[in-house]
Symmetry: C2
């Protein structure tokens, strides 16, 4: 490699890292807003965010990056494989950032803010009609964005690719169809079963003790609290970069499992970020692949690992020790059933891991129809309710508990929902592979040991950065294409003994 | 005013506010570092801070500001008085920022960091000799900075003016000489008195209750918790801007007064910031005058108000209610004496409000001699110890408890110490003025009411922004030049009854 190319490459890395550092500062502002912001300080925070958005954009869209990319692209043959990965992703990111005229970006930013308020009000008032103009505007902006970036003929594919590089509506369709075929009959079987789990077994679990317990659990799983922390916010989330992860949870005295599992979920996200190569932070070699893979990490720890019998063999005695009076009347069987309760609900975020996937299929179907212009925004509630009845077996009594329940569209986030279910499929496929690679893995869990699993995930996935795309990493790690069959198998193995025995 | 000038002025305001917003983001990073940062995340925080320092500098030193200032300066006659204030200060700030070559700024930044570590190690090892090169370098850089900014013949005046605009070594000298003359005999009288206060009367005050109590107190004083918060850090401080103030304190079960008074002190700083006109934030009309005036606000609330009998008439019953067993054997007299205990100590930050001023005089004397080249860094410990014995009546047994005790010089902060004592003098002078303006003010305190005082401070001082300099605001508000006689009078009135009766 010529000295010229080598210099250009390291200059590119410096520019990318600088832009990333500014993004992490911006991210900290966002975390602080959810965790610490005094109630009347929202105005200054909005102004701070606006100026940081500007500064971040300037850094990431800097003209020097374009020239460096051109230099490197014109010497493609001289680059190592990793350097090609960096250049390819940097180009993709750069183009997506710079091909949108600033007038378009400004208009969209304005809409994101006003549409959020329109949605929040419409939801509160159960008034879908008032939200229609915002939704239409966002759909129009999404199409416009796709067009500006050269995806004019496939706007929904563009939206999906934004969250899961390499994924298309067609691929998602194929995966979801197969999943649906297996899942719907299985859910019907569960619902027809006389076995029901009660989740209302928990009362008066002191928040301080819950905090200690979830700290113990997440530390055991492998979250590095020397490079991260967990705080409280209205909605749980995980932010920050691997060098400083900020997770949140929320507490309710009568819902200790809610805090626990949402924290484990965020811990899965956090451990993925902590596992990305620290030296490559801010470059494509130190960044997560996409939403679906990210979600596979949070779901694997939350579901496959932490809802397992082996996990609770270890943690149940500790749970009882911390909450002796609260668990006195609770049998081990009832606890395990509560942890793995299946009960269809209208609300996606309250759904169990079996029926959750049905919520995603519904949304994917609706988004496809909207982008194919087969469905008008005005007809959304009727279409939603029909699909809800078909897929979930439940019809929303109002739009608040139906089409208005999710925040995503109000922020222009179309093509985002599929990632959740893709994540579930990837998690299950990884789960069978890791157990084949590491015999007797679950007996580790029963001893409170999770290091072998984490090391495997680190080596197989985290350390790869963005060297593979969503489908590519699955193929690379498991030797097979992504398939819903593992998720179906996992759900059957976990839930059939509980409901169909 | 021509449209041209009006446009230039509003463009200047926009630029200044943008730079300020970025500074507040940078400030939040600093707060987060002290309050939240995970232990192994220091490296990324240092990188974030470096890039934010760059971004802040770019914004505040932008060439557009220079052209706008030139336009406005050349039309000076057309500007309103407030606009002139803004332009004058903006010019001063801009020049101080831009007249330093970036090579100089980079060298200084490097030294600040390495000198801090050298100081921390020297202090830990009680090894002044190892700190000499860093101190010399910082003195040299300070002289160089003064020279670059046109203060080559008066480097120490420049250092003082940096913290207290308009103040000079000569003025400080005159004030301190008069203060010393009255204060040293008074301290001797107190020390000769058989009356001694015990401060070791407090044990086992639960932190959670302390937290509630100091929240109650600071809220009553007038801190607006809807635009600010208080957290825990190693050393108490106040950061943020009026729209979002972040204060900190620290807790020890056996030192409830320490947390309380340090929180009240920071509350005084915080209320000054909260009182600056919100609409003018980021411009000289919405900024504090300087360190001395800032300190006058913290000291007035901490000392004149919160160590008063009237204050405790109201809060003592509340304090006892919160800590019934801990205060059972404590008489009201012992409590009041503990709050107002005078006991010379070697350590400035542990000093009471009477002898604190002596610590400052010592440092001012030493700094003057260093800048006048009458004292070499090598001879500092001997000079320090001699002055300590003369002024404080105590000789440090080692440099750790002598010349190495303060962090300030390691950051290149010369001319900063005088502000503390200037703040004490201003606070006392304001105290007599406000009681003349608002008869019977202390009876408000005895009813837990502090609103009249806060409103007076807001109107007289906070709302002024930087319209006056340190000496100017005192003259404006009290009708007299700043004088140490009010501090002497206040100290005598407060402490003579306790020690000399």
């Amino acid at each position: 490699m010529s000295a010229n190319i080598s210099t250009a490459y390291s200059q590119l890395i410096t520019k990318l890292k600088r832009a990333h550092l500014l993004e992490t500062v911006f991210g900290l502002l966002g975390w602080d807003e959810q965790v610490n912001l005094p109630p009347d300080s929202a105005d200054i925070r909005a102004e701070q965010a606006a100026v940081m958005a500007e500064v971040c954009h300037e850094a990431a869209a800097h003209g020097d990056i374009e020239s460096l990319l051109q230099t490197l692209e014109s010497s493609h043959a001289e680059l190592t494989a990793d350097q090609r990965t960096v250049v390819r992703h940097a180009r993709r990111d750069y183009d997506r950032l710079t091909k949108l005229p600033s007038s378009f970006v400004a208009e969209r930013a304005k809409w994101v803010s006003s549409a959020y308020h329109a949605w929040a009000q419409a939801k509160a008032a159960n008034d879908f009609a008032s939200y229609i103009p915002s939704l239409k505007k966002h759909l129009e902006l999404a199409r416009k964005e796709a067009e500006l970036l050269g995806w004019g003929d496939r706007p929904y594919d563009y939206m999906i690719d934004k969250h899961d590089p390499g994924m298309t509506a067609e691929k998602v369709n194929a995966l979801f169809s197969e999943l649906k075929e297996g899942l719907i009959p299985f859910v019907r079987q569960i619902l027809a079963s006389p076995q029901r789990a009660s989740t209302r077994l928990f009362q008066g679990f002191p928040v301080e003790e819950q905090r200690h317990f979830l700290r113990e659990v997440t530390e055991k799983l492998g979250f590095d609290y020397r490079r991260g922390r967990i705080d409280v916010s209205l909605h749980p989330f995980c932010s920050g970069s691997g060098a400083d992860i900020r997770m949140t949870t929320r507490f309710h005295e009568d819902e200790p499992l809610d805090s626990l599992f949402s924290s484990i979920h965020e811990t899965g996200h956090g451990m993925y970020e902590q596992g990305l190569p620290l030296a490559d932070q801010g470059t494509p070699l130190g960044q997560a692949i996409g939403m679906g893979v990210h979600e596979s990490q949070s779901r694997l720890w939350e579901n496959q690992v932490s809802r397992s019998q082996a996990f609770w063999n270890y943690f149940e005695p500790r749970f009882r020790e911390r909450f002796p009076t609260q668990t006195a009347a609770l049998t081990s069987d009832a606890l395990y059933r509560a942890i793995n309760a299946v009960e269809p609900t209208l609300i996606r975020v309250d759904a169990d891991e079996v029926t959750y996937n049905l919520h995603i299929m519904l949304r994917f179907e609706v988004e496809q129809q909207l982008f194919r212009r087969e469905l008008r925004a005005e007809d959304l509630p009727a279409a939603w309710n029909r699909l809800s009845s078909d897929i979930l077996g439940l019809t929303p009594p109002d739009d608040r508990r139906g089409v208005l329940q999710d925040v995503h569209w109000s922020g222009g986030a179309f093509g985002y929902f599929p990632s959740y279910c893709i994540g579930n499929m990837i998690a299950a496929q990884l789960w069978y592979k890791v157990r084949a690679d590491l015999p007797d893995l679950e007996s580790d869990f029963a001893r409170g040991e999770f290091g072998r699993l984490l090391t495997w995930l680190r080596t197989q996935i985290h350390h790869q950065g963005r060297r593979f795309d969503t489908m590519g990493i699955v193929k690379q790690v498991t030797g097979e294409e992504l398939s819903p069959r593992y998720l179906l198998r996992y759900l059957r193995e976990r839930y059939a003994p509980l409901y169909l025995n």
